[in-house]
């Protein structure tokens, strides 16, 4: 298959986004875990907790650098590779990205430097505050990014303006409190907390297996397991909330995840496993759990969930309606203020379906020239490829329940068995380290691949969102990113492993010596003349 601009741009986005999300979940969770550890240090004044803060803080820092660096790519890629998307929805989509910078990213980035450099310059409480500001900033970042992404899944609070040929915001609070965005936010940050907990438990288990840094490792497992248990429960619960909100906003994605081709009498069964067959539009060998889908998706026994075939029929109707909208749009755009009220009325009646007419652009330049076959083909295009979604979703859910089990076990051993962990469990914990990353990437795959063929569900097709670039340009940058990111990944993994092998770089005596020195420095500074430190 020859790759065109659309495929190359999608490949680049998928690659850079999934790469970025190797670092994000650990940042989200580890920032909070580190802040918790430092809180215990400040409250108890015990050196071991400072040692833990500094050790996990160092690993946080190595990871944070790449999270920031690869995040810049995400923000710039919309304009570079997806310029029509940027023009078409920038009025809504750009706002949360900019607010993220103002409210969250400035906060975390300004204070992360002080977290590492400020130990000698700040009082204990001030430094603790800095640690929490970094954690809060990171998590607020996720909120705004997921509001932006939630809008792509469920574009509320906006309408099309024929004069500017783009979507424009009509209600900011609808965008903000988009139910999809809110469920996604809690689901995603919880996944980050699970990731960090599994990471902390896994690395600590490795120390315990070797009998190194036992005090640090045992306490870290305890903190990780308590935090991880709450988070793992929250991930699954909010995943369920996402499923519920998908029932009314993203019907096609839900049906595809389910491999549900025909609308079933309510309450629909849940296909536990099966073999989705796109050609025959059937899921073979399905093992069904009666009622489960209806209950999860609608929380009722009487509401129907539409199957794929019915949704395709609806899409066909919407394409025809979209063609009427497009014809009216051309007239309104041409006449501007002089447009007839009839044309305006026709446009407004059908404008919600305009995006469906754009699906025809894959086949004809002018959607109004589309033939019957093309309309039917475009309606069929609204079905994403089912089997990868079906399986990715099930694997993610299985991992999610696996995390609950593991966390429950470690929490029990930490709380009731005197932080005594059997060796097989420790081995399992080490081997589990990659699992939350796999689950998180699968989750994003389901969210984004499941929305195809749209960038903004029902509003703008992916194929129309790209920039007018040459294949050579996009290939060059894609190759550039592949090489570049591979090298960075090797360097980052090398450093991570080096510092994990090395372990905490201060022992208890050093830490105690520092604590004494720090007390003296602060006492000395209070006595010194305050004007010796002028502000810039």
């Amino acid at each position: 298959m020859e790759l065109g601009i659309v495929e190359l741009s999608r490949l680049q986005f998928a690659m850079t986004a999934m790469y970025h999300f190797l670092f994000v979940p650990l940042t989200l969770g580890l920032s909070i875990l580190v802040a918790i550890m430092e809180t215990v240090y400040v409250m108890t004044n015990r050196p071991i907790w400072r040692q833990m803060t500094k050790f996990w803080g160092l690993l946080f820092g190595i990871n944070f650098a790449l999270g920031v660096a690869t995040g810049i790519t995400m923000e710039f890629q919309f304009g570079m590779n997806w310029s029509y998307y940027s023009h078409y929805v920038g009025d809504i989509f750009g706002a949360p990205l900019a607010i993220e910078g103002l409210m969250a990213f400035f906060l975390e980035a300004t204070f992360v430097g002080l977290f590492f450099f400020g130990w000698d310059k700040l009082s204990k409480v001030a430094h603790l505050t800095v640690a929490w500001l970094v954690a809060i900033g990171s998590n607020f970042s996720a909120l705004w990014i997921l509001i932006a992404n939630g809008w792509m899944q469920n574009p509320v609070g906006a309408e099309f303006n024929p004069m500017t040929m783009r979507m424009e915001m009509t209600d900011f609070f609808e965008v903000l409190f988009n139910e999809v965005a809110q469920a996604k936010f809690v689901h995603t940050v919880s996944a980050g907390y699970v990731t960090a907990s599994v990471f902390v438990i896994g690395v600590s288990a490795w120390y315990l297996l070797r009998g190194r840094h036992v005090e640090l490792a045992r306490r870290s497992v305890t903190v990780g397991a308590a935090f991880g248990l709450a988070s793992a429960l929250s991930v699954v619960l909010l995943g369920d909330e996402s499923g519920y909100s998908a029932t009314h906003s993203q019907k096609m994605k839900l049906a595809a995840i389910e491999g549900m081709w025909e609308t079933h009498d309510a309450p629909a069964p849940f296909n536990l496993i099966g073999m989705p067959d796109q050609e025959a539009r059937e899921t073979h060998y399905a093992i069904e759990i009666p009622w489960a889908m209806g209950l999860i998706g609608t929380r009722s026994l009487t509401t129907e969930i539409p199957g794929i075939n019915d949704l395709v029929a609806q899409a066909e109707q919407r394409i025809r309606s979209g063609m009427i909208a497009y014809a009216a749009l051309l007239e309104v755009r041409e006449q501007r203020d002089a447009a007839s009220p009839e044309a305006m009325a026709t446009f407004e009646e059908h404008s919600a379906d305009l995006g469906f007419a754009f699906l025809l652009r894959k086949y004809v330049d002018n959607p109004l020239d589309a033939t019957e076959e093309q309309i039917i083909a475009a309606a069929n295009d609204t079905v994403p490829t089912v089997w990868p979604l079906f399986w990715a979703f099930r694997l993610m859910v299985a991992l999610g329940f696996g995390f609950i089990g593991t966390m429950l076990y470690f929490f029990y051993r930490a709380s009731f068995k005197g932080m005594n962990f059997p060796r097989p469990a420790l081995h399992l914990a080490v081997w589990m380290i990659p699992a939350p990353w796999i689950a998180a990437e699968l989750g994003w795959f389901v969210a984004e691949f499941g929305r195809q063929p749209w960038t903004v569900d029902g509003v703008l097709p992916t194929a129309m969102s790209v920039s007018a670039l040459s294949v050579t340009e996009v290939t060059l940058t894609l190759l550039g990113f592949v090489i570049f990111y591979t090298v960075l990944f090797i360097i980052e993994m090398g450093l991570m492993l080096k510092y994990i092998r090395k372990g905490p770089f201060e022992d208890v005596e050093e830490t105690e010596a520092w604590m004494t020195r720090h007390r003296d420095i602060l006492a000395g500074r209070r006595n010194a003349d305050a004007t010796s430190m002028p502000a810039e």
Binding site: K54, I62, G79, I92, F106, T110, L122, L469, E473, T477
Partner: protein, 387 residues
């Protein structure tokens, strides 16, 4: 929601045009000295300890400073979506180079001193140099191209189409005037980095920073004046014709644009804007004197004044144009035709008014905590908290 109608659309557009300038200037004033220090690194630091001193003068703050760049991107996306769409895809490969630099730089800062191996450290030092100097140059080159107009046109659906083959979109950026603009930008940021090092370092590092910074200040002022003369005689400008619709929908195709003899006719229409280039030149010269005399705080302030003057002079001269098109002037992006909707501009302004003062306040606090010289002793004894 009708609250946003309290402020007229054209006023909001002008405010966001000013805020666009504030973000660019904020970026150049803060991350600018990080880039300047990076570009000076191989020259001011001969030994590993000296280089670490230079790096640690910006070590705790570059991360926050870089957010100005990211916020700049986000604010252009939110407030000027057509500008974001046209410029980021139009300067495609140049943007990729800048992006690569902004990915390498954070990593270089964080990872450089994590291993003792001199080859490792030397490699990252050159990475820091390149990832600072190249974007500093390219930002100026981009401005040079914008001043001359960029070859693109908009279709009826407002798709952006670029003229010419793909490699010319990159190599074609490097015309003589744009290279001169790139020199202004690089020299200005190196001067700023020199002023920062003068304040934060001592001994040999400081001495070399003052010497190189003085040269950079001289080059920056010279190249800026030369570019001004070139604008006066050799480069055509743009102007809008017909009715002045400042409150209309953001659609460039609703406007008529024609070429004029020179951008500098703006100084006849709005003589007060001459204050910007005067500040630019004066700031550069005062920085030069300050560096020679070894003044620390005031030199940095003069350098900031130069940055303020130079960047705002570009915006004020081109107003209301933001990104003119050389091949199809009618597609040119202006303040009146390429903003977000009335509501979005208002919401973003509210957010800015709430958060910008907070950002200023905590940034000032962080700089206050970190006030003072970075010394060699601090680096060698400081153990684990320095880069």
């Amino acid at each position: 929601m009708i609250l946003h109608e309290l402020m007229s659309y054209d006023l909001l557009r002008v405010i966001w045009w000013v805020l666009l300038g504030v973000l660019l200037i904020g970026f150049a004033m803060t991350d600018g000295f990080d880039m300047g220090v990076g570009a000076l690194l191989p020259f001011v630091g001969r030994s590993d300890v000296e280089r670490r001193v230079a790096i640690n003068t910006v070590g705790p703050v570059w991360e926050g400073n870089q957010v100005w760049f990211i916020l700049g991107g986000g604010a252009i996306f939110a407030a000027w979506p057509p500008l974001y769409a046209v410029s980021f895809s139009g300067f495609y490969l140049a943007m990729f180079v800048v992006l690569a630099a902004f990915i390498v730089r954070p990593v270089a800062f964080k990872y450089r001193s994590k291993r003792e191996d001199p080859r490792w450290r030397n490699g990252w030092d050159w990475a820091l140099f390149a990832s600072s100097a190249v974007p500093a140059l390219l930002f100026g080159v981009a401005v040079g191209n914008v001043i001359q107009g960029v070859p693109f046109h908009l279709t009826d659906d407002l798709h952006t189409i670029y003229e010419g083959v793909w490699y010319m979109k990159f190599i074609g950026l490097l015309d003589p005037f744009s290279i001169l603009a790139g020199v202004v930008s690089l020299a200005m940021l190196v001067m700023h980095g020199g002023a920062w090092l003068t304040l934060k370092a001592e001994g040999a590092v400081q001495r070399r920073a003052r010497a190189y910074g003085s040269v950079a200040a001289l080059v920056a002022v010279g190249a800026y004046v030369l570019a001004g003369l070139w604008l006066a005689v050799g480069i055509e400008g743009f102007r809008t014709v017909g009715d002045h619709v400042a409150n209309g929908p953001s659609n460039p195709l609703h406007f008529e644009v024609e070429r004029t003899a020179s951008w500098l006719s703006a100084y006849g229409d709005r003589p007060w804007i001459a204050v910007a280039p005067v500040m630019g030149i004066l700031g550069g010269l005062l920085t030069l004197l300050g560096l020679r005399a070894g003044r620390e705080v005031s030199t940095l302030l003069f350098s900031k004044m130069a940055i303020l003057g130079v960047i705002s002079s570009v915006g004020l001269t081109m107003f209301p144009f933001i990104m003119p098109s050389s091949s199809d002037p009618q597609s040119s992006l202006t303040v009146w035709n390429s903003s977000s909707s009335h509501l979005t501009l208002f919401i973003m302004l509210v957010m800015t008014v709430i958060f910008m003062p907070m950002i200023m306040a905590y940034t000032a606090w962080v700089y206050k905590v970190l006030w003072g010289k970075v010394t060699e002793a601090e680096i060698t004894d400081g153990g684990h908290s320095s880069y």
